[in-house]
């Protein structure tokens, strides 16, 4: 046991400093009345911030928005499109597949603000907006379709992560399995359905769980594209609401305690979601030792 400690200690320290401590600090802040006025001398407020949140008439709306945003982005892009792109680019010669994936990665390498500006440029009214010019319908497309915009803008980047994971998983499938399915007369679709997808179960679990947590806490695209609007909390999600409470007031009305309470709730939601995923995908079976060892 003593011999294990040097191996485990660095990772444990990193987790403690960068994951555990912020979570504990967030919970601590959520139990104070820390705001602009009390910045120097915050008082202990116990569960008052949580009581405030429960009485917030708009919180239900924010929660529904969050579920809507996470589920749609996840299903349509981060897992759905990622899977489709990974499979399609695996069906073409490697050279072309690699090139396509490299191009798809470009937005991920673009600074978020620059990427959001590009989208804003695309979606403006004519004569400035590309989409307005192409469709002949001059409107502010972000205002006209705010959810579609933020989900697509985020999803186009999010899909590239799953695309890489799924592609590498597909490439690691032994060719013998494809040969066998071909000999059995399987069509391409049947090979995908019966060979590829079952072998991707573990990567799909990983991407789904990771991206769910990532989407729960991600708000930068929404902040830059719609600011949570247009209008009344139209695209405001939980993490954005927490950010706005804690940092984002026009009048400098920052409410760190309340924002921290929202963030603490998000930590709980994320943990619960992770546990659910592990159960749904039967994590233990996935990481169990193989019954047959191929040497």
């Amino acid at each position: 046991m003593r011999g294990v400690v040097p191996f485990v200690l660095p990772a444990t320290l990193l987790i403690a400093v960068f994951f555990l401590a912020p979570a504990v600090l967030t919970v601590y802040l959520s139990m104070t009345d820390l705001s602009v006025v009390t910045f120097r001398n915050p008082g202990w407020s116990g569960l008052e911030n949580y009581r405030d949140l429960l009485q917030d008439a708009f919180l239900g709306r924010i929660f529904v928005n969050t579920i809507f945003y996470v589920v749609l982005t996840l299903v349509l892009f981060n897992v759905g499109m990622a899977l489709v792109v990974a499979i399609l680019t695996s069906l073409v010669p490697h050279r072309w597949g690699d090139l396509f994936r490299a191009l798809w990665l470009l937005p991920r390498m673009t600074p978020v603000v620059a990427y959001a500006f590009i989208w804003q440029g695309l979606m403006r009214e004519a004569p400035f907006g590309l989409l307005s010019n192409i469709t002949g319908i001059s409107q502010h497309w972000i205002n006209a379709a705010p959810w579609a915009t933020v989900i697509a803008a985020n999803g186009m980047i999010g899909a590239s992560f799953g695309m890489l994971i799924f592609t590498s998983a597909i490439r690691s499938i032994p060719n013998e399995l494809f040969y066998a399915s071909a000999v059995d007369g399987a069509s391409t679709w049947q090979s995908i359905r019966r060979v590829v997808l079952p072998m991707l179960r573990w990567p799909i679990l990983f991407v789904t769980a990771y991206q769910t947590l990532s989407l729960l806490t991600s708000f930068e695209y929404i902040l830059l594209l719609t600011g949570g609007g247009p209008g009344f909390y139209k695209t405001t999600v939980w993490s954005l609401y927490a950010y706005l409470l804690a940092f984002g007031s026009y009048f400098g009305n920052v409410q760190f305690g309340l924002g921290a309470a929202m963030a603490a709730v998000l930590v709980v939601i994320g943990t619960v979601m992770a546990v659910i995923y592990l159960r749904v995908f039967n994590f233990r079976a996935l990481v169990a030792k193989p019954k047959i060892e191929v040497v």
């Binding site: 602009v36 405030d52 205002n143 247009p230 026009y250 009048f251």
Partner: protein, 456 residues
Amino acid sequence: MRARGLACLLIAVLVLGFQLAPGHAQAPRTITLTAWTVGPDEPSRPRFTNLLLAADRLNADLAREGAAFRIRVEGSFDTTTWDAYLRRVLLAFESKKGPDIVQASAVLSVTWAAAGFLAPMDEFVPKHKQFADVVPSLWQSVRYQGKTWGVPQDVEARPLYFNKTLLKRLGWDDGTIATLPDRIRRGEFTWDDMLAVAQEAVTKKIVEPGKGYYLRPRVGPDFNMWYRAFGGRDSDPDTGKLVFNRDAALRYYTWLRRAVDVGVLEKDRMDGSWPRFHQTITDGKVLFFSGGSWNWAEWASQYLTAKGGERWLFENFDYALQPPTRRGGKPITLSNPQAYMIAAYSPNKELAARLIAYASVPDIYLRHAVASARPSILRSPIPFKDTDPYGAFVQDVSYMLVFTSFQPPHPELPKWQESFFRGVSAVISGELTPDRAVAVVAAELQRLLKDQVIIE
């Protein structure tokens, strides 16, 4: 080795001898004052550059006085957003490593004073004769609990603008258009009248649906002004508490909902986009629009340079007070004066106050007035030349300051404003009925402000 040692010794002796030689004047030391300022509108840049000018004059006086130091002003003018700027200031205050001078809305001096971030100015104000020239009523905007927490930097009016060209297309003649500001001033043209005219313009396709009336796309002090225009009071003078008047809020929310329902106001007007607000207005597509006097300079210098700048504005736009809600009522506007404040941790408070005093003189303020179209904070006349931009406009809108009011000085005012705005946003977007919005806002204010708000 010995030669090198001798050379070093010789140099040291020469330097020391030069320093001690009679008649050699010691160079004055430099004290750096840091100032953080914000627009975010670009034309307000003199809020910072005027301090640089003031520093030059102060240094000249320091030289005459034989002072052993000079000052250097460093700092920034922020053109991003209020959110980002105020966040930066807050963190600087907390770390005590930020600026000596901060410029922000005067009403924030109350919040920051309550938080212990600011130095009181009462000791310094009487020492500098320049401060005696500041319009006395403006000092109220920086007073809290009997102390003065800043120096007014500028002031503005928030007019109701209208597009004369579109009114002409609607059949109004020049004479009728020219008298509209006076009719509003006399209380003969109300919010309902404006709504009717805008609705007619939409019906006759003079303007596109939703472009009959524009108001700011995000939270701001203007909502206090409109709430007051509809009969609300936001502060109780006896207790100093904030007030939410349900009837006035309902009247305002109902008017907004009606404006959306009849196609005068866009359902997504609260989209937070200033560029879209300014672009559509300066494209000449909006009939009535509430803005600030500084917008005049923004439009001329940033949106209309190709069309002729201010000349185009005079040809196409005119301005008036915000109308009353009933005939014979009093029109209003609101001023959100900016102020220079001094950080509590600054080691150079006295010097910072003197620098601000040097910036508070007519010929330096002139630079701000002609850049950002803001009326003067000083009693002495501003020496406008005929060729100065915005001079005529500034003098035109100055009468509005007679009708102006300020935001209530309360450290928790931002919470009131955020909640009230949530109601506005919910009603315009159709998420809540006006009745329901009033109930929700009242409950939220009670929850957030507890005994600091009177719900009536």
